[in-house]
Structures are given as C-alpha cells and as structure tokens.
Symmetry: C2
C-alpha cells in the first residue's frame, strides 16, 4: 500500500482558470505547449473561486485569483509570474544555465549562483512583459475591473491615448534594447531575450505582442512601420514557428482573444 | 593579479532607486534591514535612468525601471518581486525550507522540491501584496503616470471609491485567510503568512499596510474597527517590533510617505 502522501499526488500538472478566454492562463499554457509537457485543465467557472480560496481544498497558502497551477506533488501555486518562475527550470525555459536548477545536481556553488542569476533575469523580463498585459487591461478598465467598460469609457479613451502614445513605444523600446544587446546572439538573428534559447520571457512577450496586435491593430501597424522595434516583431514571428507552439496554433485549441484582458474597441485604437 | 571578472565584483549589495520617497525601493530595504545585511544606495536621479537602461553599464539584460539591485557578483536585477525572490533565500526570508536554497547543499531531491515550493509560496504572496501597492498608486493616477494628479482627479475620485469599497476588503480578506489557515501557527498568534518565521511576504505586507494607513486613514480605521482583518493588523504591529525593523524605524533613516506610490489626498479617503 502506498503511504498517504503518495495517494494525494496526481500524475501531472493541472491548470485552474476561467473558460472561454486566453487570459493569464495562456502564459502557462504556452510554456507547457512549447516544452511538450502534458497538462490538464479545470475550467469550471462555478467552483473556480470557491476552490482556490479554500485552504482545505488547495492547501496552504490559499489563493487570491486564478490562474492556479496544481503541481505533480499536489502543491498549488497562483500568480502568473510565480507559476512561470517555478516551472521554468523544469520545462527547460529558464535559460541554458537557469534550467540546470531543475535538479540542481552537479553544480558548483559559482555555477549555482550564475544559474540563479539567469533564472532571475528571465523572471525580471517576464514581469515587465506581464506589466504590459496588465496595463493593456487597465486601458479598457481604468476605474474598476468590476464595472462595465461602458461605465468607464470616458476615462478609457484618455488612458488609451496615453497607452498608445507613451507606453507602447516605451515597452517596445525596452525589449528591443534587451534583444539587441544580448551578447549570446551577437552573430545571429537577435530574437532571444536571454541566451540563445527560448525562455518563458520569449513566450510571454510573444503572447503580449499577439494581444497588442489584436487590441491595437492601427497603432501596432504604425510602430511596425517605424522599424524601430524590428527585433521584437521578429521574436513574435520566430516564436510562432517554434516546435510545440506552431502545432498548438494549428490545432485550433488556442483560444481566440475576445472580451478578456486584451480587447479591441475601435475607439481605443489609433495611428498615434 | 586577480582575473578580470574578480575586479568587477564589489563588496556587497547596491540599491539603485529614486531619492526622497520610500517607493518600491523600500521593499528591498526592509529585507536587508530585517536580515541585518549591509547594503549601499545609489540615489542619483540624474544618472539613474541612463544607467539602468544601458547594458554597457549594468550588463545584460538592461532594465526598464528602478529599483535595480546590484549583487555582490556584479550582476544586476530589476523588478521588485524578482529582486525579492532572488535574495529571499540568501537573507533567510524564504521560509525555513525555502531559505535552504541559499546554498542548496545537502538537500535530497524531495527536500529541494519542497524548498522550491515554499520559496514560490512566498513569491506568490509577495506578488499579491505588491498588487495592492500598484493599485494604491493607480487610485491617484488612473489615466497616466506621466500626468499630474490634478489632470485626472475626476477619474481618481471614482477609482478611489471602488478601491476603498471593494479592493481593500478583498485584499485584506485574502491575507486574513492566509494567516488564519497557516498550519504552522495553529497554536500561536497567527501573524506569519508562511511557516512560523518572517519572510519577504510578511515584510511587503507590513509596508503595504503602512502605506494604506497613510493614504486611507479613515477607511483603514473603519476596516480595523470591523475586526474582520485582525490578524493582518496584528502582523503589521508584529513586524514593526522585529529586530532589525524596529531599529530601522527608530533610526530615522526610513523615509516618510509623501508624494510617491502611496499618497494621502483627503478627497480620496472616506469611511466606506
């Protein structure tokens, strides 16, 4: 007979999230799809919140909001960047060195330190890309996420103008800077944020670019035309062709943007 | 003669941030003050942004915004939660198990996995507490951080009403839930979020409570009176008395809230 803690373990990873939208769950899905690691989903909107808030169901600490990921050990984690930072080494997505922390075996103290630094660099870039995601949401909900867009449209129009004119170029310039100063890609295409292999940072930026292109097609066409952020656009194309990701896109399983975090309202978009 | 990479190393940690406000830098300071680890600060507003954006000065990847922390190795990290997650084990602030990842020596594979889980649980709670920080900022700047408060006061009044009525209780209820379901403190005071020792999550929540009490004194007095979030208020008092923190507060070195992330505008506060 197995000891009790063995019985509580499931076979793999389970993602708990809202159904019907890519949302923040998509950042987790992309990591598993790229890595080719199976995961299941629990998308029951009627039990989602009551489950994740309940320590008797999900263990300690309970969670504030989805996505929540149940690990093979039974432990649960929420907060998109915390989930990604946890699984990145295990999925080989924390950089060449950072991913060695998956087992941590055979590393000298200095190698471990460098591996932790690479993993943190990936985490740092994930967090900045997710800031874009959060700001893109706040464009259509600047007052309260609990109220309808129509109730805050005036403020949304103002915030959208600032997001398009100031924030989009500022964020894209940062990622262009990171891509074009990466010493590991000095001789190549410069479409990797860290090292010369795909990390969670590349995957998150890929999805953020997808979201911006959906929500602000006019503005994104204008910034693309400027040629100032060419490497960011090239990263977006490169990730779409990666093994795992191209099959995921072709499968039809990837949910379309609609009324989630990234939304297209014609009046919030513009060339400038 | 030392090898070149040795020469680039400094003696310890240096925090790069804006002068004059606690800001996001304060979350990093509190970790060092609690742990009793020395750190220096570079608070030159004229060179701050040009330095952190420049990979030739800070290494790769360059940074989007301060705070930036230079590690003893010379490597630099930005994004408050990434910095805290990186240093937490080294400062003994990632929980009893999580902090063993500082060296990672002598851990079995199962212990390492549990340690990673505890570190991620701390990271998760840090991220949610920092979400409160970010939302408290957006209350007075709902349209654009680059514009004056007075230019977005109308929207701020609306956002403040929602933040006070919905968001403050929702966040406090979450942390109360985490504190009162912590199995490690079942017999005690229940003022630790994870395990029964101070973590970065406790320190961040402490400072967020300080900020809320400064910015929304009326609303916080009302929620305190309700007795629904007693353990969160007790955590706030407990951390203020901790070794390292109480000396820091008494030293006068801790900067006062003013016109930073947490701001007190009378018209944005209220009992409800």
């Amino acid at each position: 007979m197995s000891p009790p803690e063995k019985k509580a373990r499931n076979a793999g990873y389970t993602l708990y999230y809202w159904p019907g939208i890519p949302g923040r769950g998509e950042y987790i899905r992309l990591a598993f799809e790229y890595a080719g690691i199976p995961y299941t989903e629990n998308l029951n909107p009627e039990t989602l919140e009551s489950t994740i808030h309940d320590a008797s169901k999900v263990g300690h600490p309970p969670h504030f909001a989805p996505p929540m990921l149940e690990l093979p050990s039974g432990h649960t984690i929420s907060q998109t960047p915390a989930i990604l930072n946890h699984i990145a080494p295990k999925l080989g997505l924390a950089g060449a060195l950072g991913s060695k922390l998956a087992t941590g075996e055979g590393l000298t103290e200095e190698e471990r330190e460098k591996a932790e630094e690479e993993r943190s660099a990936v985490n740092q870039l994930v967090l900045t890309a997710l800031d874009v995601n959060n700001e893109a949401h706040d464009v259509h909900h600047p007052i309260a996420s609990s109220k309808y867009y129509e109730e805050q449209k005036e403020a949304a129009l103002e915030r959208a103008a600032d997001f398009r004119a100031s924030r989009i170029p500022k964020f894209l310039a940062h990622f262009e800077n990171v891509l074009t100063t990466n010493p590991a890609t000095a001789d190549g295409e410069r479409t990797y944020l860290i090292g010369k292999q795909t990390t969670t940072a590349d995957l998150v930026l890929f999805h953020v670019m997808d979201g911006l292109l959906f929500a602000f097609p006019k503005r994104m066409a204008a910034v693309n035309k400027s040629k100032e952020y060419d490497h960011v656009f090239k990263l977006h194309k490169r990730v779409a062709r990666e093994n795992g990701i191209k099959e995921y896109i072709a499968s039809g399983r990837r949910q379309k943007f609609s009324m989630g975090l990234f939304r297209h309202y014609k009046e919030l978009d513009g060339d400038e």
